[in-house]
Every structure is written in structure tokens, then in C-alpha cells.
């Protein structure tokens, strides 16, 4: 009987999955079990697209098709939750087991708070994530820094602070991530700032950190994070997976890896936020960078917080229709609507047609709001601070007092 809070090593019972899945194939086995046992109608995971660098979402409804999503892809920078909202009716009409990295998990919670996805119908399998590399950036890095042909790579991984590639002739080559990132290669900038390395918001959090000894590389470390997760593990044990209790040394090593990653995240945050400057200097910088916006709408279309059918940026009295470059108001609307809940998924920056560092700006704003209001987005179902505003009462107060502060953040005990 597994229970919330349990830590265990798990691996697939099926020999094929044991060999072909990542770290003993436990995740693949759990997904297949969820499908076979009828716990879910479908599995939504990621598979290889045109090649190793192209991660595509895949919806699997037949257990025998599960093998296509086995293995990991570090160039998979896509965000799953908005796909669930856009194309699967927010999981309102089907039960789905879904794999998620940290930013996916946080984005999912934000969409759930806004009633855009139904968590009750989802089983979330979290995957530890040290960060991901955009596909073309990865190819350039492999060519320029590793001196290898990116088309010859059959596997890539991030382990012990290194980005490691394996060629089809079996050659392993690793370079320290620190070194790569100092030169502008490596993980996306938002991944460098990320501090959700083990997605404990999910029902299960799975990864290879803390798998040692003869099980190293042959088992997955699973942290059971919810009753739903415990139920899946309990039912699957002996049928789809085998488990073992990890040694205290393994727990300690896992903790150390996570601790080191979080420390690195803090370091990257400080360095990146510092460059933004403060006050007017920061505003000037943001205005200068966003002035090249072409209104492609990719930031809004891909943002897991944006869900409004009637988006304010499309109201002609706020933002002129068709005007390019759009006025700064376009960005102000995004900051005021998204900043309290930004989960630093990076989509608005990675997909910006003009390479505006949108995620950096939004994340910096979010951190400031978190300091002011104590609300951390993406970790639980707690509503963002503005959700507590009772609109008509607030409008009356603003009108009565002549104030322009929705929350008077400067008064004591407000």
C-alpha cells in the first residue's frame, strides 16, 4: 500500500519497457497501466517528431501504442496544459493521464484555478526537470561546442551538472552546463531561473535523482504526492511495476541534487534580474525592448494564464486594432493580467517573433508581487490576490475615495 509522502524506486515489470523506457521504464509502465486498468481514457505524453530534437504531444488511447512516448527529450520545450484546455475541452469529458515537467504542473494549476481544466479527470505524472534546451539552440550548441554533427546524436541527457550527448557510434561527450551557459548556450533562460525541479504538485513526481547502486539507471525514483498518485502506485505494484524502498543515502543524494539545482536557480535569477535594473531604469528597458513588438499574439496564444475569450488587448478602445507596433498598453495589459500568476514557463519569450524577453519581464514582476502579497502561483489551488476583489464594492470604494489603488499596499493592515 503506497501512501502520500512515500518515496520509492520503481521499474517496469515488462522486460521491453524495462530496457527501452527511461530509468527502468516505470513511467511508461504506469501510463500503460492507467490506460489498461481503465483509470483513464487516454494518455497525453510527448513523442519524438521529425527527429530527436522535435518533441510532439501524442494522445494515446491504445495500451499497445504506449511505447512511442518512452524515453526523454530534453528539447521538449512545449507546454502541455494549454493543449488540454484548447483541444481536449479541459479534460472535462475524458480522463487523461499526462506527463508534466515543473512548468507544466504549475501552468496546469493556474488553468485549473480559472476553471479551464478539470483536475479531477487528470492523473499527473510529474517528471523531474533540470531544464530544457530549444531544439535549434541545441543543434547549434552540439555543432559549435561539442564539435559533433547534431544529426549523429542518438541520445542526450542532463546529468551531474553536465549536458551529455551520445552519438550513433557510441561516443559520450559531456560539457558542464555552467560553462555552456556562460557562453550563451544551454538551457532556456527561464529554465535557468526555474526552481520547480521536482514537480510535487503532480500526483507522482518521478526522476532519476536518488537512484544509486545497482539500480542506477535501472529504476525511477518516485515521490508519491497525492492520494490519487498513491492509488495508482498501489494498484500497479506487482502488475505493471516493481518497487523497492530507497536507502537513506539515496534520499540524501536526491535532496542534494535538488538543493544544488535550486541554488543554481537562485544564482541565475539574481544575475538575470539584476540586469533589468530597478524603478525607472527597468521601465525604460522594458519599454525599449517591447517597442519592437509586432502584435503576433504568440505570447497570449501560448500563455497558460491567458484564457479570456474577450481579451482586453483586442478591445479597440484600449489597443488600436491593426496598429503595428502596438502601443505599450498592449504589454501593460499583459503585465496587469498575468504577472500575479506567471509560472515562468517561458513560452511568451521562446515564441516571441521579435525575441522580446517577455518571460524575464513577467517573472521579475511576479517575484515582486510575490514579495508584496505572499502569493506563489502554480503550487496549489490558492487563488491569486486579485481574485478576492469584489468588483462592485471595489469600484465604489475607488470612486468614493478617489484612490487609484485596487489594493492599498501602502497602508498598514490593508
Amino acid at each position: 500500500m503506497a501512501a502520500k509522502g512515500d518515496m520509492l524506486w520503481a521499474w517496469a515489470k515488462d522486460g521491453n519497457m524495462l530496457d527501452n523506457g527511461e530509468c527502468g521504464g516505470a513511467v511508461t509502465a504506469l501510463l500503460k497501466f492507467a490506460l489498461e486498468s481503465g483509470a483513464v481514457d487516454a494518455v497525453l505524453a510527448v513523442k519524438k517528431g521529425v527527429d530527436l530534437y522535435d518533441a510532439q504531444p501524442v494522445l494515446i488511447t491504445k495500451p499497445e501504442d504506449i511505447a512511442q512516448c518512452a524515453g526523454s527529450l530534453h528539447c521538449g520545450t512545449l507546454l502541455i496544459p494549454k493543449i488540454i484546455k484548447k483541444y481536449f475541452d479541459g479534460a472535462n469529458r475524458m480522463k487523461i493521464a499526462v506527463t508534466m515537467k515543473g512548468c507544466d504542473a504549475k501552468a496546469l494549476y493556474e488553468l485549473a484555478k480559472r476553471n479551464q481544466v478539470n483536475l479531477d479527470n487528470l492523473i499527473t505524472i510529474g517528471l523531474n526537470c533540470g531544464g530544457s534546451v530549444s531544439p535549434i539552440e541545441a543543434r547549434i550548441m552540439i555543432q559549435e561546442k561539442f564539435g559533433l554533427n547534431p544529426d549523429d546524436i542518438v541520445k542526450e541527457e542532463i546529468d551531474k551538472g553536465q549536458f551529455i550527448v551520445i552519438t550513433k557510434s557510441g561516443e559520450h561527450k559531456g560539457i558542464k552546463i555552467d560553462e555552456l551557459e556562460e557562453e550563451g548556450y544551454g538551457r532556456r533562460l527561464n529554465c535557468q531561473r526555474c526552481k520547480t525541479k521536482i514537480p510535487r504538485q503532480c500526483d507522482l513526481a518521478c526522476g532519476n535523482w536518488g537512484v544509486i547502486g545497482d539500480k542506477a539507471g535501472k529504476a525511477t525514483f518516485v515521490e508519491v504526492c497525492s492520494d490519487k498518485g498513491a492509488d495508482l502506485v498501489t494498484k500497479a505494484t506487482g502488475k505493471a511495476i516493481e518497487t523497492e524502498v530507497p536507502s537513506p543515502a539515496a534520499l540524501s543524494i536526491r535532496g542534494k541534487v535538488e538543493g544544488a539545482m535550486l541554488k543554481l536557480g537562485d544564482k541565475c535569477r539574481n544575475a538575470q534580474f539584476e540586469k533589468l535594473g530597478d524603478g525607472k531604469k527597468r521601465l525604460d528597458y522594458i519599454m525599449e525592448q517591447t517597442s519592437r513588438c509586432i502584435k503576433c499574439y504568440q505570447c497570449i496564444e501560448n500563455c497558460p494564464i491567458c484564457y479570456c475569450v474577450e481579451c482586453s488587448t483586442k478591445k479597440p478602445h484600449l489597443v488600436d486594432s491593426g496598429a503595428v507596433n502596438p502601443p505599450f498598453m498592449f504589454h501593460l495589459i499583459r503585465y496587469s493580467h498575468v504577472a500575479d500568476s506567471c509560472v515562468n514557463c517561458g513560452q511568451c519569450q521562446e515564441l516571441c517573433a521579435m525575441d522580446i524577453p517577455n518571460a524575464l519581464f513577467m517573472h521579475a514582476l511576479q517575484m515582486e508581487m510575490q514579495e508584496m502579497f505572499g502569493h506563489e502561483p502554480g503550487v496549489n489551488m490558492e487563488l491569486p490576490v486579485l481574485a478576492y476583489v469584489e468588483e462592485s464594492a471595489e469600484r465604489k470604494r475607488l470612486s468614493d475615495t478617489g484612490s487609484d489603488q485596487i489594493f492599498n499596499i501602502f497602508s498598514e493592515g490593508a
Binding site: 487516454a42 517528431g49 521529425v50 527527429d51 530534437y53 522535435d54 518533441a55 510532439q56 504531444p57 501524442v58 494522445l59 488511447t61 528539447c75 520545450t77 512545449l78 493543449i83 484548447k86 483541444y87 481536449f88 475524458m94 530549444s134 531544439p135 535549434i136 539552440e137 544529426d151 517597442s291 519592437r292 509586432i294 502584435k295 503576433c296 499574439y297 504568440q298 496564444e301 501560448n302 483586442k314 488600436d320 486594432s321 491593426g322 496598429a323 503595428v324 507596433n325 521562446e350 515564441l351 516571441c352 517573433a353 521579435m354 525575441d355
Partner: protein, 525 residues
């Protein structure tokens, strides 16, 4: 439930960005980033992102049509094929074959064969047939330039090329922009050389004084006016004098492919009035005044409305094929959904028409057409990164036909006191490409008709308010447009985008000129 991503190439401009088409239960329902694109890395502009909306537009043609009396009526394929017989009585200079330069290589190659072998005419042209063929370097490589001369409003004509100019600027490059107003591209400049409308070539020569650096690139966004080759010639001369790479970006998605397919007759030919019959694939030339016209299109364009026979064509999302972008990269267009019954790929329709006229240009598949044109390649070979064709020296041929010769500076007068300048808008393309954007509701929500940008001082003097509609007139004709009042444009200059949307069209005003004298007055409500 079927759910899949199908990567494909954007049907709009010559940049060649890719995106995934999202397929649910066999139908295109959205786009998603294709981060593996060697050109755009998952990014697209608004046209690319919303391109899926045109695929299942209710305005799509699904049945052939034949002219009966004054109008077109739906017909069976057999009736329509029978009705094209008359086309066989035209050949040589009597017939003009026009295709969109957004059409696939497979379509263009077949149309070229059709022109050569069946209609026996050299009159095969596309909007990319401007006499300009220059594609040095790669788009991504622009980010590494230390000096870029950007000619025209590339931010709106080729947004994901402009991204690379922004990258270069962030890396410390000098960005010299030549444009007729303070366009979004001009706003990115470290040096802005403002051109008098119609005298772009002189401004390009002037820009030369600012050029410095070891890796210099001259980038020109080709438009669709009769002045393009003259501007390109000046750009080429500048590039040569500064030992710079010269890249001229075709306006439509397969401009490079159109030239390689042999569509080299100047585009102005289509407007020369010499041809008695037209054969048109996917392009909107405006209403035709021809003895006989056959049109293949996915939508009922203004050209199609005046045709004798119209065939319904599949759109980009319904065909396999290839297009070649501004950097000579052949990329794969992938079929993502089945076309409606009776709707066929262009090359297949052309082959059926050819058979009726006694020709034989039938192929088993799109790839068979491709292999006939590019025997050394296959779809498999270009599936990931496409195939970069070798560089060749830039060439610019200036057309000296009557139409092209007279294009120059706008000579303003008391009657026509404004110099009208025209270039791309980011929301819509030109001709056949505007047909596509006009069927994307999200793009139409932003810009649903023709607009004019004018100086705020001029607007005040004419008592024109931002919510007004105005009548813009030239010696050629007039259109009604909404207004954008701005400080970014000089007094005495107005901007009208090179497009045709919501019933109005730039061609009514300019007849292909890049600059012309115009007047502007408040339109009656």
C-alpha cells in the same frame, strides 16, 4: 480520438517559417509552434499563427463553376473540364498564364509544362516575376552581420527576417534602414535614411555613406509594384560596392521556386492588355476583361468572379508539396487534412485540363512531380531541415515596358497634393496571398479593409478624425479607407498598404506604381 501535429510551411511571405497544424478527428483545428524549424524556431508572425483559420473557411470553393449568362453557376467536374476546350484555341501572345508565387513547386512546375507544351506560350508569370533573383546567405546568418542595410518595411513584409535584424542590432550591429516613413523597421534603425516616395533608389545610394563593417548584408523586401527591379538594382549596386551579401526577399511564399520553375516573363505582362485569354492558378489579378479565362483557386476571388470556368483547389494544409524560401531552402508542405470531395491539388487540376486539350502532364503523386523537377532529391531527404540550394550570383533585370518605365516620383499638384507611398502591411499579403489572409477571421478582426496612414497635422487641417473614413483618389481611381493618424509619416505623404482587402485594392489607385500623387477627403458616411 485522433490528435496529431503535422509540421508545414507558412503559405504567406517568402521567409519560410514553419508551424505545426493541429489535427483533431481529421480536421485542422489550430496551429502550434514547430520549434524544430531551421528558419523560425517555432516562432511565426500573426499570419502564420492564424493561417489555420482559412483552411476550413465557409468561403472555400467546393465545386467547379461555369459562366452562364452574367454569373457563375456550379457544375460537375465533367462539365467544367468540357468547358475548358475553348482555351485550346489560344496560344503564344494571345494567352497569359499566371500563377501565385505562393503555389507549390509541384503546381508551378506543372503549370510551366502546361504553358510550354499545351498552350505553347512563353507568357508564364507570377507576382515574383520581377526580374530580381538574389538570395545570398541565410536568414539566421543575418543575426551575425555587423552592419545591415534594410530596404523597405521588412518588419511588416517579412517579420521573421526582421527578427534577425533585431538580433544583429542586439549584438551591436549597425542597422541602416531606408524607407519612406518611420515604419516599424525604421524605428529599429541606428541610421534611418528617409526616402522621398518614388526615389528609393537615390536614398539607397545615400545610405551607402553609413555602411561600415566586415560582415555587411543588404536586405530588400520585394513588393509587388513596377518599381521593384529599379530599387533592387540600386540595392545590388550598393551591396557590390560595399562587398556585402545581397538578399532580396520574395513577397510570396514560393517566390524563389516560381523563378526556378521558369516564370520569368515580367509580371507587368499580365496587365499589358495584350492577352485575350487567361489561365490563372491561385492569383488574384482583379477583374479580368478577357475573351476567355480559366481560374483554379480555393476561393472566389475577384479574378475568379470574371472567369468562364473556375476549379476548386486544395489549400496548403490539404496537399503535399514543396516551397522554396528567400534563402533558397526547399521545404516540405505536408498534407494535414483531406480536401473536401471534388477539391483537388492544383497540379492535378492542371493535368486534367491539359488532358482535355490533348496534352499529357499527368503524375501519380506530388512527389512524382517534385522528382521530375528535382531528380536528385526526395521528400524524405528534405523532411527535417529542408534542402539549401547552392548560392548563385545576384541578378536584377529591369523591365522597360511602358507600364514599368513611367513609374517614378509622385508629381504632386494642387489637385493631388499628397505623395502616396505603398508597401506591405503585416496583416495581409498581396493578390492571392490577400485572399488567404482575408479568410482568417483573426487577421480580419484587426484590419478588415483598406486603410491609409497620414500625418496628424494633415489630418487636423483636413478635419479628419481617427474614426473617419476617407476617400483616397489618384488620376487612376479612388477607394474608401479607414485612417490611421500618426506622427510617423511626414506631412504631404500618405501610406496605403500594397494589398487588396474588403473590396478596395491598391491597384485601383496606383496601377502598379510605387509612388503616385493622390488626394484625400472625408468620405460621406
Amino acid at each position: 480520438m485522433e490528435f496529431k501535429y503535422v509540421p508545414t510551411v507558412c503559405p504567406f511571405c517568402g521567409t519560410g517559417c514553419s508551424f505545426n497544424l493541429v489535427i483533431k478527428e481529421g480536421r485542422v483545428v489550430g496551429t502550434a509552434p514547430f520549434r524544430r524549424s531551421p528558419v523560425s524556431e517555432g516562432k511565426t508572425c500573426q499570419k502564420g499563427h492564424f493561417a489555420y483559420e482559412l483552411v476550413n473557411s465557409p468561403a472555400r470553393l467546393t465545386k467547379p463553376m461555369i459562366k452562364k449568362g452574367d454569373g457563375l453557376v456550379e457544375a460537375s467536374w465533367d462539365e467544367a473540364i468540357a468547358a475548358v476546350a475553348k482555351l485550346g484555341s489560344y496560344s503564344g501572345d494571345d494567352v497569359c498564364v499566371v500563377a501565385s508565387a505562393g503555389a507549390t513547386n509541384e503546381d508551378l512546375f506543372t503549370v510551366k509544362k502546361f504553358a510550354d507544351e499545351v498552350l505553347k506560350t512563353k507568357n508564364f508569370t507570377t507576382p515574383a516575376s520581377t526580374g530580381i533573383d538574389a538570395s545570398a546567405g541565410t536568414i539566421a546568418g543575418l543575426a551575425k552581420a555587423d552592419c545591415i542595410v534594410a530596404i523597405g518595411n521588412i518588419v511588416e513584409s517579412h517579420p521573421l527576417v526582421a527578427r534577425r535584424i533585431a538580433n544583429a542590432k542586439d549584438n551591436g550591429a549597425k542597422v541602416i534602414v531606408v524607407d519612406t516613413f518611420r515604419s516599424p523597421t525604421a524605428k529599429m534603425a541606428t541610421e534611418f535614411v528617409k526616402a522621398v516616395p518614388g526615389s528609393e533608389a537615390a536614398a539607397i545610394a545615400e545610405a551607402g555613406a553609413f555602411v561600415e563593417g566586415k560582415a555587411v548584408a543588404v536586405v530588400y523586401g520585394i513588393g509587388v509594384t513596377f518599381a521593384e527591379s529599379k530599387i533592387a538594382a540600386a540595392a545590388k549596386a550598393l551591396a557590390e560596392s560595399k562587398n556585402a551579401a545581397f538578399c532580396a526577399l520574395p513577397a510570396q511564399a514560393n517566390g524563389c521556386g516560381a523563378i526556378l520553375a521558369g516564370a520569368v516573363t515580367p509580371f507587368c505582362n499580365a496587365y499589358s492588355g495584350k492577352a485575350k485569354a487567361f489561365f490563372v492558378l491561385g492569383e488574384d489579378l482583379g477583374p479580368l476583361n478577357a475573351e476567355f479565362a480559366v481560374v483554379i483557386d480555393s476561393f472566389l476571388t475577384s479574378t475568379a468572379k470574371t472567369a468562364d470556368v473556375v476549379f476548386p483547389a486544395a489549400v496548403f494544409a490539404e496537399v503535399d508539396g514543396t516551397v522554396i524560401n528567400a534563402e533558397r531552402r526547399i521545404q516540405l508542405v505536408r498534407k494535414a487534412q483531406e480536401a473536401a470531395e471534388g477539391v483537388k491539388p492544383g497540379w492535378m487540376i492542371v493535368a486534367e485540363i491539359a488532358a482535355k486539350l490533348g496534352g499529357n502532364i499527368a503524375y501519380d503523386s506530388a512527389e512524382a512531380v517534385f522528382k521530375a523537377a528535382y531528380p536528385e532529391l526526395s521528400y524524405d531527404a528534405i523532411a527535417k531541415d529542408g534542402f539549401l540550394l547552392p548560392e548563385k550570383p545576384a541578378s536584377v533585370e529591369i523591365c522597360d515596358c511602358d507600364g514599368c518605365k513611367c513609374d517614378g516620383i509622385a508629381t504632386v499638384s494642387d489637385e493631388y497634393p499628397f505623395a502616396l507611398t505603398t508597401s506591405a502591411t503585416i496583416w495581409h499579403g498581396y493578390g492571392g496571398i490577400a485572399t488567404l489572409s482575408a479568410n482568417c477571421r483573426s487577421l480580419m478582426r484587426e484590419v478588415s479593409g483598406m486603410f491609409v496612414k497620414m500625418n496628424d497635422g494633415d489630418a487636423k487641417e483636413l478635419n479628419i478624425m481617427p474614426t473617419d473614413f476617407v476617400k483616397v483618389s489618384t488620376a487612376n481611381g479612388s477607394i474608401v479607407a479607414s485612417v490611421q493618424i500618426t506622427k510617423d509619416i511626414d506631412r504631404g505623404v500618405i501610406f496605403v498598404p500594397t494589398t487588396g482587402i474588403g473590396g478596395g485594392c491598391i491597384f485601383i489607385l496606383t496601377r502598379g506604381a510605387k509612388a503616385i500623387a493622390a488626394k484625400i477627403e472625408k468620405a460621406e458616411a
